[in-house]
Subunit: 387 residues, 3 copies
């Protein structure tokens, strides 16, 4: 075994392909045509994370979500089930809800224009003066609906008519993180960012730590980048973990835990930060003492919204002293996020160059390469031709 | 006669087609290609309302008007005739006038770049140093002009080389509203709005009152929507009237008249508000005591300027007390306009959805359907295929 | 010889073609497709002026330059030679430098993302952890470079792989203005403008003074437009000079010299202002007492940045009193520039009109016509078809 193979082993990965891994051609970051294809084949067809169950706790509570040209109403119905409806009245196409979140009182979703009324499940309940009109059947005019899937308290929707089954897509996550009791955790903080870069750049950035020594001096002290171990290399869910240097530490300003371990987290997990991405828009980062997650909202070819949430145990949320200490984790990640956003935006700018065609990943970025392969597969482009 | 037919009769309309009336496909509100076609076939070919005669009272007075990519100078010439010239110098294409309105002194329209001079009728009067140049004939370099038509003090222009005769287009209006002495009325107030919606949405909104109960509680009290009577269903001019509930009332905050009846207005007209649209950009609303009109300026696929004017008899304008009372009409319509703009913008947003293809009009919106048919006819698209 | 020919002679030009000279069709100012072609065939292929040598005096000093979608680093290397590198890391395409200017310390150009290091000549010096990776040769990953040419202290770059030789392109300038000792002059002042017009409009405007009587009353007093003499009519460098009315005067608010004559300037040059454009983005205007130059940066079809610099002898720069007097030249040209920018923006607006196809140059604008021919030649469009 030579030195090179040794280096790979340290990362816990058996590299099947130490071969030349090329990055995606620059057009994947600059072409409006490819972006339109991504919207069509990825954002309109794949499972997208939209919100936490806790954010719409009561029947009638809703959030609206923008996906490409579509607006969706994610609402808890009268049976306490979460549903997702296209935010467009069947009468003349008016957008029904303007608010980002709210509550439909009396269980009625009403269009502001001609006052058509739908129930929370999307059924048309009243269309003024049309009761007696020939050929008009209310059942023909229910709101269009999208599929909903829930895992660990995370609500996903899928706009496709016949999507891949949710459990199949989440596969690698299904039996993971049970010690965290994810559905019981609660949002303790939210950081909102607007970035000038393509959505894929964020996923790639999340998945490799080759950039950490230069970009994240503090993070690199807590979790040296050579301690990265990846275990999911294919499909919608990919990721792994990093080892912390500090005993019972966490990703905070002083490196010490931000809170007691979450629920039943124990053993090796007390020493690890897990990094998983759910393609294409959830970054899930369980720590021993809290869970960080990012929701990526692609707004344009070179624009995203990136919302960063912190989940803690309800006991932490209820304890003023603990929450004060917890700010150390918020501050750490706000700094780290911003370090990343800078280079992500620089990459978007650099890829405008026509002289640069495509680059070459180092072996330490093979998982960013895996992100690219999932993109190509989703688009139906041939990865073979890409090398 | 069954119940349904009864309902129609109440609206004073003999419904020839109680059949399923479909709305325009969403592309008519979202496609840049269709919008470009509309600019070409509607805004560059049809009669467009631009201003009132009173706004350019003296020879040399002008207004500039933006229509698609074109800018026009509407000017009163030395013979007191209103003319319209393309605002572009024949020398090298410089836009001559920047100002929205003004006065050309000495009867000269002069380009600011190389000082070429035109008279108010567009003829090239002086091109410095070119007098002796071979092959240069001033008559070859007159400003391009557009056709002008005037009705009731309203000035229309038409950019087509050989437009449909003005009187033919105005047909249905020609013998109407003579009791108002429209040319003699004067602008008492102007409200300016910028809306984020397609221009057609405003015309449709203007033509139906099915939305009134939900959107306009105050207006609905003054003129219940079932009192709508339409009499023009085809062509450039369509519309009808609504009956007011209050004896000698008007559309004001308290429902009482804003001013004495205009000129010779009498009889049934004292009880009615008339609503006529002149395709594609004038909404004309004679009340017993004043005349409201909207000028729609399409700025982009999803952007319009909407200027709302109030005409009164000169005697009212001259009377401080009467003008104070008149503010009640201004306030009423400002509120009502804004109620409309909200839902019009919501409709534009909703129609971004690709899931929504097209909707279905209720029988109470058959006149909005008539607007759509005029659009399709102007574009040369087949209405038959649309159902 | 008739009157017309006489008029031409006054301008010192032997007009070979007093025939009808047509302007470029409006599409050359309005079509995104033609603009894309210009970026490709002109801005990515021709010699572009970027900065003065004095602006990056020490090894490691750099400026970044935006050209179309490209960003370039213009840097002085360890051997004191000026180089130009594409501002894009060969690893994954990240833009390396954000700053408009600065200094690379320790002779290292480092990418902020994964810390790859290049030397000032563009060679890859370090790619962390890739030393032992098979198939990875640093020499394969040097920064992409552009060609550099220097004349009179002006630094030009060329992004083409095999450009026309620099000296060939500069031909007409090579033996000109030696009396000014251009490389020794120093920047005394900079005026920055952002204009809403196509880049070609500025070149045309610079080359003709037919507009001067109307647009520049003060300039026309100093240099009557009939005193224009053009001597270069073809190629990248075109221009001529104008005679000043005032003995030992200059282009200042009071018409008197702004400073002593530059270096060895003498004789007829004491009475002349020279106007040369280096296609496509340098306007060079030597006066007896200073040198004015404009750098045009095309930002979009209808947007440019226009930076106006004043060069003086170092002795003037060092003398507080002389520099105070020199402000009279700055003020004169700031006023004159703004007079031009107004009409240039009006021309851009006017050319939006579809009714206007193309105009006709007067014989006094034959050199603006020459600019157009250079554009057509560069694009490979047939000038013959344009008339």
């Amino acid at each position: 075994m030579n030195n090179k193979q040794n280096a790979y082993k340290k990362r816990g990965v058996d590299y099947r392909s130490p071969a030349t891994l090329l990055t995606l051609p620059r057009e994947y970051y600059q072409s409006e045509a490819i972006y339109a294809e991504e919207v069509e084949k990825i954002f309109y067809k794949r499972w997208l994370f939209v919100c936490r169950e806790e954010e719409i706790p009561e029947p009638g509570d809703f959030q609206t979500v923008a996906i490409g040209d579509e607006s969706l109403i994610v609402v808890r119905d009268a049976q306490n089930k979460i549903q997702a409806h296209f935010n467009v009245c069947r009468h003349r196409g008016t957008r029904i809800c303007k608010a980002e979140k709210g509550h439909f009182s009396s269980g009625v979703i009403q269009c502001p224009y001609h006052a058509w009324k739908y129930d929370l499940s999307g059924g048309l309940k009243a269309a003024p003066l049309l009761n007696d009109v020939a050929d008009f059947e209310k059942t023909d005019y229910a709101l269009f609906s999208a599929h909903v899937g829930i895992w660990g308290g995370f609500v996903f929707i899928n706009l496709a008519e016949a999507p891949v089954p949710f459990e199949e897509e989440m596969g690698a996550l299904m039996n993971r993180f049970e010690d965290w009791n994810l559905p019981d955790l609660r949002i303790a903080h939210k950081l909102e960012y607007k970035l000038k870069c393509n959505w894929k750049i964020i996923l790639q950035n999340y998945q490799e730590c080759y950039h950490c020594p230069g970009v994240h001096p503090m993070l690199s002290k807590r979790t040296p980048f050579r301690g990265a171990v990846h275990d999911c290399f294919e499909g919608a869910v990919i990721g792994g973990y990093m080892e912390m240097t500090e005993r019972r530490g966490s990703m905070t300003m002083d490196g010490k835990a931000a809170a007691p371990p979450v629920c039943k987290v124990s053993g090796e997990d007390l020493q690890r930060v897990h990094y998983y991405s759910v393609f294409p828009n959830l970054l899930l980062t369980p720590h021993p003492d809290f869970v960080l997650y990012h929701r990526i909202r692609s707004v344009a070819l070179d624009r995203i919204g990136n919302d960063c949430f912190f989940l803690v145990h309800p006991d932490v949320l209820a304890d003023h002293k603990l929450m004060e200490r917890f700010q150390s984790a918020v501050k750490f990640w706000d700094l780290t996020n911003q370090e990343d956003w800078q280079v992500c935006e620089q990459m978007q700018l650099g890829l405008k160059s026509h002289r640069f065609k495509r680059g070459r990943y180092s072996p330490f970025e093979d998982i960013a390469y895996a992100v690219d392969q999932e993109v190509l597969k989703a688009l139906g482009h041939k990865p073979a031709e890409m090398e």
